[in-house]
């Protein structure tokens, strides 16, 4: 349940919880907002959605602060939380929150999803063609730079399961990439990148 419905937060009185709790949250936030921004932006189409997911992720951390581990493990915990919020968003449940209005406005002005051409377009198409579970596994390693143990912590499974699933995911990705590379790509010869068609 993600109780951040639009506008709801405006009604809340100032502030809740002792200073110690707030201090702990601020530490977690300061150490992890960059990685969480990156994680979420890499997985969303719209900067506004990204801002909402980021806000909900840290709101979850605030509400479950006692569950947030210390040190670098906090980041893994936050990835797991962000992943669940994203799953809700992908179901179409929008939680456009007033919490993230400002963040969303800034990201909207600053972030544009890259469009790929040539070989990178083939890689991107092959990657998009994979099942979600494969994509997440491969991305946690390639984009977040996690090792198998860290991936296991984010996904809540054993390291051995990660190893096996990763092996399969990589194989499926290679198959998919080969398929995309085998496709005829007539337009590439006629349209130069950035030039007139």
């Amino acid at each position: 349940m993600w109780p951040v419905s639009k506008g709801a937060t405006l009604r809340y009185p100032q502030p809740a919880g002792p200073d110690e709790r707030r201090h702990r949250f601020e530490e977690v936030y300061a150490a992890n907002h960059g990685p969480i921004l990156g994680y979420v932006l890499r997985r969303t189409q719209s900067p506004h959605d990204a801002a909402d997911v980021i806000a909900e992720t840290f709101l979850t951390a605030w509400r479950r602060l006692d569950d947030v581990p210390s040190g670098d493990e906090a980041r893994l915990w936050l990835y797991g939380a962000a992943r669940r919020v994203l799953a809700n968003h992908h179901r179409g449940e929008r939680r456009r929150s007033v919490l993230s209005d400002r963040l969303g406005a800034e990201l909207t002005g600053a972030y544009l999803m890259p469009e790929y051409t040539g070989e990178l377009a083939e890689i991107a198409a092959a990657f998009r063609g994979l099942p979600e579970a494969d994509r997440e596994l491969l991305a946690l390693i390639a984009w977040e730079g996690l090792d198998h143990g860290q991936v296991a912590a984010v996904l809540g499974c054993s390291r051995n399961a990660v190893r096996i699933r990763l092996h399969r995911a990589r194989r499926r990705f290679a198959d998919m990439l080969a398929r995309h590379q085998a496709l005829p790509q007539p337009t590439r010869a006629h349209i130069t990148n950035g030039g007139p068609a």
Binding site: R102, T108, L120, A142
Partner: protein
């Protein structure tokens, strides 16, 4: 180089540079001003949409949850206070758990799960009509012992916000489940009760389904809504500084335009409005142009 690394849309460092310190501080301030609720479980694993033949549980949950939310507390008859809140049905290696009383005290659910040796916390939250009866959230922990819960889906039987038709409607618990889990379903709201989970107001099954309201005037949209007996108790307006405000109807000019809508409560929506025909997103605050560097030196480059 890992080929997938080459299509990383943005690095952490670049992402962090896109937002000002002021915006980050603003978000932190708003979050820490929010109330803290008791939340017993660790979110370890998100299970969603695992296709499974829809068994009895799915059938019962669909039958009891999708229908005519509104005047009553859901289409499921709410039994007397003494009635059992949950029904447990063993099917081979799984137990299907059916919700008999969607508005029972959560402690009763917990007690009934406990009586079956299960450490499961069940919550039902008021949901906008198309999400009634669907799984809102599931998380579980406990390592190997915490795995094994499966969602029961009824593909095409309900529509979640963005048009998704996977429709998770139930949960199957393996016999001998020793982990801990939190499960949240959407239930029909009581009259006047605020939704806690919503689909877009114009999603199929919602009160504004089929209406064209984007960029129309407030007066025009209110007129259409009146015909559907839908009221607007509150409007959302984003100020030039990018701060969201809730406005009562008396403070919203009829000539303003509608950008978006969200279900608010039964037969009520919240409209996102502003003076211009097109929503203008405010730029970053000019008093906070300093980029904020990525705070984690240990973070590997993408």
């Amino acid at each position: 180089m890992n080929p997938i690394s080459r299509i990383s849309p943005v690095s952490d460092a670049d992402a962090a540079r896109m937002v000002s310190d002021a915006a980050l501080a603003d978000l932190a301030e708003r979050i820490t001003s929010s109330p803290v609720r008791a939340a017993p479980a660790r979110p370890r694993r998100w299970l969603f949409g695992i296709p499974l033949a829809a068994g009895l549980a799915a059938a019962v949950l669909i039958a009891t949850s999708i229908g005519h939310p509104g005047a009553k507390v859901g289409p499921l008859g709410v039994g007397p206070a003494s009635a059992q809140a949950l029904v447990f049905e063993k099917h081979g290696r799984y137990i299907d758990v059916l919700v008999r009383n969607p508005v029972a005290d959560p402690r009763r659910y917990r007690a009934e799960f406990k009586a079956h040796g299960l450490d499961i916390t069940l919550s039902l939250v008021p949901a906008s009509p198309s999400l009634v009866g669907t799984l809102v959230e599931m998380s579980n922990s406990g390592g190997a012992d915490g795995r094994g819960l499966k969602t029961i889906t009824a593909v095409g039987k309900c529509w979640t916000g963005g048009g998704g038709s996977i429709c998770p409607v139930g949960v199957r618990v393996p016999v001998g489940f020793r982990g801990q889990a939190d499960i949240t379903f959407g239930r029909a709201a009581r009259p006047g009760e605020r939704y806690e989970t919503t689909a877009p107001a114009d999603a199929r099954g919602e009160v504004m389904y089929g209406l064209h309201f984007h960029h129309r005037t407030v007066a025009a949209v209110l007129a259409v809504l009146r015909k559907r007996h839908v009221t607007v108790p509150v409007f959302h307006y984003t100020t030039a500084k990018g701060i969201g405000e809730l406005l009562p109807p008396s403070r919203v000019p009829a000539t303003w335009h509608v950008y978006d809508a969200d279900p608010w409560a039964p037969h009520q929506v919240m409209l996102w409005v502003g003076p211009g025909r097109v929503e203008v997103m405010p730029a970053a605050s000019p008093d906070s142009p300093v980029p904020s560097p990525s705070p984690t030196s240990s973070w590997p480059a993408s």
